[in-house]
Point group: C2
Chain length 267, copies 2
């Protein structure tokens, strides 16, 4: 699925919800542990429960890598299970010198055929360029993140602006709104108005709503543009909404609530 | 192996060479392709050929991830094959919000028990902290990298200094020279004198000698400290020194040449 198809999906479903599959074996319901592949079973159940209310799934690679070789098998099978009607994101935050970034791009666009991958900007253009060279794939570069550490560098002065502003301004010239999105944390909602001045047309992937405390109302107020232009991610607030045998019902309910609220902002 | 044992190994071997296993299936000698696991066979042969001349091996995860699930199996087996007398580095350049970085730390310090892992600084302290909490493990944070893109952000002004200087200064307060090293590219050798003023005691992992054009002589002149304090990485210049059936001999020869030159600087 490319960006234009994502825009259509958002219009049809009246939702810009991305469900984050940050699946931690230690946090999934106890009754699933009897399964030989509990994490995959959990992911499939969450996808079945939420697919009507979201337009995207984001797989946080860290949680799977920590399981070793088996974790990558689960990434592969989970990706395969996600309906083609949904925009798939590898939240991998990769970035390295050109020839190495080309390998990462191959990993997440070919070997594991995601629609998009998150990329760290620190190492500059040649670390991002190999991702942008894939047609109909989307590169999502870190702008202003949702964590406390954002104040260490991203929010520090950098030649008359904040570093994250320089990053948005510089990186946005390397691609187009069709192949380039940015991560902007919901916990920095007040910055979104400013972000929209720098990148009015790019989609923003917004983590931090829910468990991290960001407000969906504020994010939507400042972040929406004429194409929607937002993918709001909720991970823990949806996938761990329930902790018992009712986890599927609770996850569906949490996702539906996000969708219902989003529908009101998409008037 | 911890940092103190690395210092001893450097003294004993009179070498601060790290061999980078950036193994690309398309670049290994044709005769190996008959093997059912050509990349692993290549890695084992390179390790056997070079282990007397180097003190460390660095596995560039990108090249293995691009192979899919099988690639992680090769990482595991290659890591297991490296002698315990060598310092092992996962060149993974990870970094995310705290709870996700904790998963990456688990990945590279427990699931795959490397001695060290490379980490990107953009997201700030809570993205680095989970790595530093492991005792006797080493976190190697990106400072000034060897690629052209270093000029986009790392070498830009950031409050009266360059961004990479701010990163070195800020991050060095989060750890100690025992658990924290920095990546500083050899193609920026002239900056090493300055780097040493900011972080006199931390080890520097220096890529970019050889194929990327950096000078070992300059790097050593400006980078060595009383503990050596340098790990100079060579990847393509060693592992692809030969392209035929003599690749083992050529790789050993290239590694020995680096060691011989390093020994003269360690007087």
């Amino acid at each position: 699925m490319n960006k234009q198809q994502l825009v259509s999906a958002i219009r049809n479903k009246r939702s810009y919800l991305c469900v984050g599959l940050d699946t931690d074996i230690e946090k999934i319901p106890a009754h699933l542990h009897a399964s030989p592949n509990a994490v995959l079973e959990f992911n499939k159940a969450i996808i079945d429960a939420t697919k009507d209310y979201c337009v995207s799934y984001k797989i946080n690679t860290a949680f799977y890598e920590a399981m070793g070789v088996k974790g990558w098998d689960i990434i592969e099978q989970t990706l395969h299970y996600i309906p083609e009607t949904h925009f798939t994101i590898a939240d991998a935050k990769r970035g390295d010198i050109g020839n190495t970034s080309a390998q990462y791009a191959k990993t997440f666009f070919e070997t594991f055929p995601f629609d998009a991958v998150t990329v760290a900007p620190y190492m500059g253009e040649d670390s991002v360029r190999p991702f942008l060279e894939y047609e109909n794939k989307v590169t999502i570069v870190l702008g202003l993140t949702s964590n406390k550490g954002a104040s260490d560098f991203e929010l520090q002065p950098a030649g008359g602006e904040h570093l994250y502003e320089k990053v948005l301004r510089t990186v946005s010239a390397w691609g187009t709104p069709h192949n380039l999105m940015f991560v902007v944390g919901a916990t920095q909602a007040s910055a979104l108005e400013n972000v929209r001045k720098i990148v009015p047309d790019n989609f923003l992937l917004v983590p931090g709503v829910g468990a991290q405390g960001g407000s969906l109302q504020e994010v939507s107020q400042y972040g929406l543009n004429s194409e929607a232009g937002l993918l709001v991610n909720a991970s823990r607030a949806v996938i761990y909404a329930g902790s018992g045998e009712d986890f599927v019902v609770k996850a569906a309910e949490a996702a539906r609530q996000y969708r219902d609220e989003m529908a009101t902002y998409l008037q």
